[in-house]
């Protein structure tokens, strides 16, 4: 029985640029079931990132509701949202966004540190995850010693650290060549199959879209199909 992991209801988001209101989302209703890889496609400025941010609880909607694991995110305060993200959501960004002063292992440890996991468990869990993404041998390297593809794998390992029900990836292949992007998507598919890991990926890369269980196309802040 596929259960719903994400549900949005008439979600809108309006940004204020000075005195001008810029609508980014105009009533989005989506429903995502457990075990899916969802692609959100659309041109830049269409509202992909905004939608991901709202689902991930790093931004709050102007109107509407977001439910993740049946929790209404709009009812949570700032600190509650932080704790929610820590336990339920992993983030992967286009430019990897690893902490440059920390090694691959330490980067993966960060969410575990935030979750107050004891040091010993932390290190074994982080190295397991790096092994899972095929980077065990690069564990003690700093981000600037890793290729783009490797950095993105570290980012995925970091996103998985606290066993989140949901991994949100914002244009994860946007900065990678097609070969590396394919390898990365292979990893995403593997993780989905083996661990039943949910992914929501914003992209305009056809290579990514073909791997999705479903693709939502978003245009001018509305879902097209």
């Amino acid at each position: 029985m596929p259960e719903t992991i994400v549900e949005t209801a008439d979600l809108t988001k309006v940004y204020k640029r000075g005195k001008v209101d810029v609508p980014a989302l105009r009533g989005v209703d989506i429903k995502i079931r457990k075990g899916e890889i969802i692609c959100i496609a659309g041109p830049s400025g269409s509202g992909k990132t905004t939608l991901l941010n709202l689902i991930g609880g790093i931004d709050t909607p102007t109107t509407g509701k977001v439910f993740v694991n049946e929790v209404d995110l709009t009812t949570l305060g700032e600190t509650e949202l932080a704790d929610f993200r820590l336990k339920n959501v992993g983030f992967v960004f286009q430019f990897y966004n690893l902490i440059p002063t920390l090694t691959a292992l330490e980067n993966v440890e960060i969410p575990l540190v935030l979750a107050k996991v004891p040091k010993k468990d932390r290190i074994s869990r982080a190295s397991e995850l790096l092994e899972l993404v095929g980077l065990k041998h690069r564990m003690l390297h700093k981000p600037d010693e890793l290729s783009g593809g490797e950095q993105q794998r570290v980012a995925i390992a970091r996103a998985l650290a606290n066993n989140p029900s949901l991994v949100l990836a914002d244009e994860p292949t946007g900065d990678l060549d097609s070969e590396t992007a394919t390898a990365l998507m292979d990893l995403v598919e593997d993780l989905n199959k083996v661990r039943n890991q949910n992914f929501i990926i914003s992209t305009h890369d056809p290579l990514v879209m073909q791997r999705g269980t479903r693709v939502y196309t978003i245009k001018d802040g509305k879902i097209e199909k």
């Binding site: 941010n53 991930g56 790093i58 931004d59 700032e78 600190t79 932080a82 704790d83 929610f84 993200r85 820590l86 336990k87 959501v89 992993g90 983030f91 960004f93 966004n97 902490i99 440059p100 002063t101 920390l102 330490e106 440890e109 960060i110 969410p111 540190v113 935030l114 979750a115 970091r158 996103a159 606290n162």
Partner: protein, 394 residues
């Protein structure tokens, strides 16, 4: 891995900037440590100076010597009549002993120093006597005997039995035999020498004149009464009790303390702007990092802690380096000032800084506090950043 690790790595990554920032606080901390050590040294010295004038409850000297430093015998006083000593002794029954002394600027073997003429018996009765290290005090009847301070005898290379030339100028000197060497632990006294009062008067042609009368009372409770009586009895003298002296000394050191504290604080505030700037830069540069950390679940308080840890590290590093430099400077200070004042024995301002754990603690704590305070606003701004906006930051 913790906030400390992240802060430490961040500081390590920007070594030059960290170094410069730390230097700013180091200057303040080191300055504070040296100044406090000097103040402490002064306190110790003043205390010893009071002990140096020994058991004298009251000092009497010419009222025309107005400046405060003369109250500390830094310069020989104007003279007054020796007969006053007898007036005091004979008219006030509460007086236990009276000792007139004459301090003049003189020359011993070409070295300038203060020469003090004393009556050994009354001087001993009032003050308990000089702290003789070797030899004896001034023997009765031996006119050309001199007792040298430890520092003076060391610098002259003179020992017991040696003949030294003593005079008010380098040209008019007489030969004296060194009979004893004393030490008070206080440089001004240890750079001076003592001869018989009448000999000093002859040498300086100040017959019947003295600079100070030291008075010892029969018991401590009558000191104020005796002082008042002396003031009424004799015109034109200033009467200072040891109690007043102590008050004045602590007043001076307190004033100095405030002054010194102000200088140190100003230096630290100047340094704090460096810390604030560095922390603001660090927050700005790491805006996206802050966004990422918040996105993956860091609370605002975690971000605040992270940047405060960074500021604290700057503070700890600065505090430790500042204290080390401060201690080195404090120990180097007497060497420099000794070089600077060599040969001019009349200047007794050789304060030896005294470094105590308290001083280091204060300096360290100030460095740390200033750094944390300076880091507070940038850290607060980092914590308050909107996650989405921080992530969008280039």
């Amino acid at each position: 891995m913790s906030s400390w690790t992240i802060g430490f790595r961040s500081l390590k990554r920007r070594r030059l900037r960290t170094g410069l920032t730390v230097s700013g606080i180091v200057v303040g901390v080191a300055l504070m440590a040296v100044l406090l050590a000097l103040l402490q040294g002064m306190n110790v010295q003043f205390t010893e100076m009071l002990r140096g004038i020994g058991g004298a409850d009251i000092t009497v000297y010419n009222a025309t010597t107005p400046t405060r430093e003369r109250e500390f015998m830094i310069q020989p006083y104007d003279t007054t009549n020796q007969s006053y000593a007898d007036i005091i002794k004979n008219n006030i029954s509460e007086v236990y002993a009276v000792s007139p002394t004459l301090a003049v600027n003189g020359v011993v073997n070409g070295t300038q120093c203060t020469i003090t003429g004393i009556e050994p018996d009354t001087y001993d009765a009032v003050t308990g006597g000089l702290n003789i290290m070797s030899g004896t005090s001034l023997p009765e009847g031996e006119e050309h005997a001199v007792v040298l301070g430890k520092v003076l005898s060391d610098s002259l290379g003179a020992s017991i039995g040696d003949a030294v030339s003593v005079g008010t100028t380098t040209t008019e000197t007489q030969s004296f035999i060194v009979v004893g060497i004393f030490e008070t632990g206080m440089s001004f006294f240890d750079r001076s020498c003592y001869i018989h009062l009448d000999v000093a008067q002859n040498l300086t042609e100040k017959h019947g004149l003295i600079s100070t009368i030291l008075v010892k009372c029969t018991n401590p409770d009558v000191v104020d009464y005796v002082a008042n009586t002396i003031q009424i009895l004799i015109e034109g003298v200033r009467v200072v009790t040891q109690k007043i002296l102590v008050q004045q000394v602590s007043q001076i050191t307190n004033t100095l303390g405030v002054f010194i504290g102000a200088i140190g604080i100003v230096a630290l505030i100047a340094g704090s702007f460096g810390v604030m700037n560095t922390m603001a830069m660090s927050v700005f540069e790491r805006t996206r990092e802050i966004g990422v950390l918040k996105a993956i679940g860091a609370r605002n308080s975690t971000i605040l802690k992270m940047f405060l840890a960074e500021a604290s590290l700057i503070g700890i590093l600065s505090g430790v380096i500042g204290c080390i430099i401060g201690v080195i400077a404090a120990f180097a200070f007497p060497i420099f000032s000794r070089v600077a004042t060599r040969g001019s024995a009349g200047i007794p301002l050789l304060v030896t800084p005294v470094v105590t754990p308290t001083i280091l603690g204060i300096a360290l704590a100030l460095g740390l506090t200033v750094s944390i305070l300076a880091g507070l606003y940038p850290a607060w701004r980092a914590a308050r950043m909107k996650t989405v906006e921080a992530l969008r930051h280039a």
